[in-house]
């Protein structure tokens, strides 16, 4: 049995309070699980808030549940968010998938998840989530790595020659079995009908051969350009260990360079592909 930290205690109190006061019908948080990662928990009664935990096993980005019909049907949602997850919620807010009034945000100050900490945590600038209804936890430690290193992984791939990159991605995407865990775990892949499910015509081949896999992963990468918040969930859940985070990072890096934009930093932001401005430099248009 793990000891209950003061962070977990405050989290349970905040969750119980939200349920008792009626501010929320369900609190989406984390609970203990047999495996390496804590599991999502849906707490509907104040006394069940005792199931909630927060520690370095709380990898998952719970924002994925906000667009899920079965979960929304439970009533007003409260959700436990790390700063990185809040970036995904900011995108859901800016894209009008959820409304801020229908959401109670219980922020947790986080000094990194994973043991050792995940790569994204090492340069995380959003350890103290802003704009939540409640925030629990002690002030987080500063990230150990310079945030300028956030694109280091993709820069290493960019240094390869075109042929080497092609060989690398053929090998990696050749492994894909099209289980769509990447899509299903993605908080921003909320389309009711995914392009891969559209069959008249079949835009993307569903067969897990290289051609179909490349089409699928490029389609997904493009749909997430300027939206992906690099939470890394796609790569974490991929059973074939495909470095999917690198695809998202590449697009994030381009959008950062071209538009000076990083997705999900606030709910009020104007995203490059969904906002119009007369002084748009339009560097993405050939």
């Amino acid at each position: 049995m793990t000891t209950v930290t003061s962070l977990t205690r405050s989290l349970r109190e905040a969750a119980a309070q939200a349920l008792t006061s009626g501010e929320a019908a369900v609190v989406i948080g984390y609970e203990l699980n047999d495996g390496e990662a804590a599991a999502p928990a849906f707490v509907r009664a104040p006394e069940d808030a005792e199931r909630l935990i927060f520690d370095e096993s709380c990898f998952g980005n719970l924002a994925v549940y906000l667009a899920k019909e079965e979960v929304r049907r439970l009533g007003k949602l409260a959700i436990v968010v790390k700063g990185c997850d809040l970036r995904a919620i900011n995108v859901l807010l800016r894209e009008n998938v959820v409304s801020r009034d229908d959401l109670l945000l219980i922020g947790v100050r986080c000094s990194g998840v994973g043991r050792p900490a995940l790569r994204k945590c090492s340069f995380c600038e959003v350890r103290d989530p802003e704009g939540c209804d409640t925030v629990v936890g002690d002030p987080p430690e500063p990230p150990p790595t310079d945030p300028g290193k956030r694109y280091a992984e993709i820069e290493a791939i960019e240094e390869l020659s075109m042929e080497e990159r092609w060989a690398y991605w053929q090998k990696q995407l050749g492994k894909c079995i099209r289980c769509y865990a990447c899509r299903q775990v993605c908080p921003l892949c909320y389309c009711k009908r995914c392009i891969v499910e559209k069959s008249t015509p079949q835009w993307v081949e569903t067969s897990p051969h290289l051609r179909g896999n490349i089409a699928w992963n490029i389609a997904r990468g493009l749909h997430l350009t300027g939206r992906c918040v690099s939470c890394g969930e796609c790569e974490r859940v991929c059973p074939m260990k495909i470095p999917l985070g690198s695809l998202g990072d590449k697009m994030a890096k381009l959008v950062d360079e071209w538009y000076g934009f990083r997705s999900g930093m606030s709910a009020d932001e104007k995203a490059p592909f969904t906002a119009w401005s007369p002084d748009d430099p339009e560097p993405g248009i050939l």
Binding site: G35, P40, R178, Y180, R183, V185, S207, P208, M240, K241
Partner: protein
């Protein structure tokens, strides 16, 4: 019927038998590790793992029922359609080093693919594939073979069962004619022995399948399904890594007037799986889909084939990104 015996071999047996088989143009698949993933691979340039790995990321199912296979090729010219069989027949294949749970799953796939008629591509591969399993020397906390009638030393579905020794040698229990032919490749290096296998590692039983079946019989409609499916994100990871899941989709992929008809893995967790052309979906919510997956494995399959469609490999538990453990669902039913 030949007499199947137990043999002992010294260290180096794997390299020598794999070499001899490759010379005979046999496709040899062994567990190899690459990019942090252990999988069955033709191990050119990769070091085979003789033991000490938990299991391969994908089950041996994928050798007999590939994630994607060509069923036929077609070409259309005005009103004529020419059909052709896929290029080459399945090669002679030897899988060395799958786990007993994965091999046992082949008996379940056999039951399905030989049920009302023989599935030709599956049966052809099955005939041409020899399964040499490695008995488990340790169990992972997610393993539950003993709860579904298996064991770390289960010989079901294998042609040879290998008990690896710490010095690199092994005891080999020959179980079929194909297994005898495999041992034959080792020549005099394989000596008959009266030695018995070591004790299997302990795998605690986690639930009783009879109690689960009894609960499922009565609870098609239950709030339980809604509660346990809230977490489920509806991806296909658990099914695709499952040694017994065998649902498939058939698609035509064409460029202009020619194309291929392919069979691909499919999964009952997907919303699209049961969606009709009319737009109606008889399993419109994830709870109905989660229920289907459990019902198929622990109620419908036993009713049709007399055994559960699960071998307890634990991959679904290890693979699920949101901790939707099949074992915890089954254990909860067991306690009801």
């Amino acid at each position: 019927m030949a007499e199947f015996k137990t043999y002992q071999v010294a260290a180096g047996w794997l390299e020598s038998v794999a070499g001899a088989l490759r010379e005979a143009k046999v496709d040899v698949l062994v567990p190899c590790e690459e990019d942090g993933c252990v999988d069955l691979r033709s191990n050119q340039g990769l070091q085979a793992l003789p033991q000490g790995y938990l299991n391969t990321v994908l089950p041996v199912k994928r050798v007999l029922m590939p994630a994607s296979e060509v069923l036929l090729e077609y070409e259309r010219q005005s009103s004529d359609i020419t059909l052709a069989s896929p290029q080459e027949p399945a090669p002679e294949t030897v899988v060395i080093g799958c786990r007993p749970c994965d091999a046992a799953a082949l008996e379940m796939l056999d039951a399905v693919f030989e049920w009302d008629y023989e599935d030709v591509p599956y049966a052809e591969r099955r005939r041409r594939t020899t399964i040499v399993s490695f008995a488990c020397t340790e169990a992972h906390p997610t393993c539950f073979c003993t709860s579904v009638g298996g064991s770390p030393h289960n010989s079901a579905g294998s042609d040879v069962l290998v008990y690896s020794k710490s010095d690199g040698g092994a005891l080999m229990q020959v179980l079929t004619e194909k297994g005898a032919a495999f041992i034959g490749k080792l020549g005099p290096a394989a000596e008959p022995t009266d030695a018995g296998p070591p004790a299997p590692p302990d795998v605690p039983e986690k639930f009783d399948t009879k109690k689960i079946k009894a609960w499922l019989d009565e609870n098609f409609e239950s709030d339980f399904w809604v509660d346990v499916s809230l977490r489920c994100l509806g991806c296909g990871a658990c099914s695709y890594v499952c040694p017994t899941c065998h649902c498939f989709d058939i698609v035509d992929e064409s460029i202009w007037n020619r194309g291929q008809r392919r069979r691909n893995w499919d999964c009952c967790s997907f919303a699209l799986f049961t969606k009709h052309a009319s737009g109606h979906n008889p399993r419109p919510v994830q709870s109905a889909r989660c229920r289907q997956r459990v019902m198929h494995k622990f109620k419908y399959f036993p009713e049709r084939f007399g055994r559960v469609a699960c071998v307890g490999c634990g991959r679904c538990v290890r693979t699920c990104g949101v901790g939707q453990g099949l074992v915890s669902i089954l254990a909860a039913m067991d306690k009801k």
